[in-house]
Symmetry: C2
Subunit: 325 residues, 2 copies
């Protein structure tokens, strides 16, 4: 088994070597741009990590499908940025801002198609299973994005609705990544299924930690401004919990903060942070992340994984959940 660092290096190199340069340039340049502006490449790394639990024979059969996950992920980001009217991503201009919406729509479309193309490098014997898994995930991610958009105009979102939404929008892709590596390596079905559930729980923990870092992260490490979610009134884990925990005077205070305009940005962020602390939402977010992480590990129990395999998965999930950026 390779170390997580070695796995990461393999994925980073494969992404560096990706070449889409083709005519028409107007279609493929935005795609190269989007793939080049970074990110942690978690999904292909998770896919390679679960493959590597079973096989050290790392070739195009696993690297290309792993890249398919990253290409698909970037396709969804590209289209999300149009829908959210986002101007920057990872400190760079979004495709819809650097070019325009039409370019972003069409370049995104071709990325979705190329993701499937890369997927077909997997062994023919598992291709039907991989494709079904991938397509189910793809539809789920769209469903999650739809709910996320609907939440914007919904005054109250319950915890169940929130967990369902991030399950579809974020966890489904991590679950698919984890299971796909196992399927391609020829893992036993029960272990592949357990890795799917593991990936799903890790995905929930990951998204809640994303919400947490956006409000309480270290601005020097996090890489983007703290408080973005607060300013746009995003229904995060923190806000959904706060809605649940407030009534009467505290609900009034929450509504006052939510109503603060752009001219009071700093004040709004500080007030919301304080409210999260006062209501124990901050510390409970950390507990929730840890609880989903534990649940993820429990999904693997009694499925016949070796201690070395469990250790490797624990290391991966810990790095993902206890990240600071």
């Amino acid at each position: 088994m390779y170390s997580l660092k070695e796995q990461e290096a393999l994925i980073m190199r494969a992404i560096c070597n990706l070449r889409f340069v083709k005519e028409p340039a107007g279609l493929y340049e935005p795609l190269e741009y989007m793939m080049s502006i970074g990110g942690k490449r978690l999904r292909p790394r998770l896919c390679l990590a679960t493959y590597n639990l079973y096989s050290d024979d790392i070739g195009d059969n696993i690297i290309s499908p792993a890249l398919a996950l990253e290409i698909f992920h970037n396709f969804t980001l590209l289209h999300d940025d149009i829908m959210d009217r986002a101007e920057t991503r990872r400190g760079q201009l979004t495709v819809c801002k650097k070019w325009n919406d039409n370019v972003a729509i069409l370049s995104g479309d071709v990325m979705c198609i190329l993701a499937y193309k890369y997927l077909t490098a997997c062994p023919a014997g598992v291709q039907p299973q991989v494709l079904e898994l991938f397509s189910r995930m793809g539809a789920e991610v769209c469903e999650g994005q739809q709910y996320d958009m609907e939440f914007e105009s919904q005054p109250i979102v319950t915890s169940d609705e929130y967990i369902n939404m991030i399950g579809l929008k974020t966890a489904a892709l991590l679950a698919c990544s984890a299971k796909m590596g196992a399927i391609i390596a020829g893992a036993p079905q029960t272990q592949a299924d357990a890795l799917y559930d593991f990936g799903w729980q890790i995905g929930l923990a990951f998204q809640i930690s994303d919400d947490y870092l956006d409000t309480f992260g270290d601005p020097h490490v996090f890489g983007k401004k703290i408080g973005g979610d607060i300013l746009c009134g995003k229904k995060t884990w923190l806000l959904v919990e706060t809605i649940k925990r407030t009534a009467g005077a505290s609900r009034q205070r929450l509504n006052e903060i939510l109503a603060m305009g752009e001219d009071r940005a700093e004040e709004k962020i500080a007030a919301m942070q304080q409210l999260y602390i006062d209501l124990d939402v901050k510390q409970d977010a950390i507990k929730a992340i840890e609880a989903y992480h534990e649940k993820a590990m429990e999904c693997l129990a009694g499925k016949g994984f070796t201690p070395a395999q469990l250790e490797s998965l624990k290391e991966f999930s810990t790095s993902l959940v206890h990240r600071e950026d």
Copy 2:
């Protein structure tokens, strides 16, 4: 072998029976709407027709992949309508107009993914080949759309550029449809390849006849207003040929017509129709359609098709090329 009418009935019934109703409704309703507003269903019909050259055993193995082609086609239309700011399609409001752009983006995305999902109903043994074919086609359609958009701001488009563009945007999908049916039926590779080339040439003929009908069709039969392409200055086969054939005074006349504003719509259409007639572009369009049709049939020669198979393909292509709507 079933008659073309019977094949059409099978496809129409399968499309009627398509059900996407799922949560969230905001995502799947636009998709059902788009699939329900009609069209000739040419791509699944062509796919079924080539399958039926080899096999009468028509089940989900061919119907679902045939539907995948129609779903994919409608996905591209849905996104094209956003990019073109189109308000109506087939006499109904477009999804981006009836709902909004974000809905159209996301519903289109899920259609692309569902197209792949339907594709996976094909026999496992041919799945890698079918997927590669489909993904290549998908990328080509995006490339064609990109060129088409670029042509809008390009004063001169050559015939070669035009044929390349419609090849990618329109013919690639018909070529894929024709080959896919054959592959799924287990046809010999040379015949599957010949059907691809046949579909490509038919696609070119089809697009030129589309351009022709938009300007010279019978408004009672065509189903949409005549002259739409002229009014928006679209680089059609007719206009590209006219650019090629004009110089000096005739080029000046062309530019005068192109410069006519919205307030002179009727006059602009009539003047351009007359110019097409004067320059023999109208009659040459009909010749070009027939030439591509002949070329399509030539692609099939010497490949071992039986007279009955050739007859069936000829009947299909003739109905497609000599259509009036």
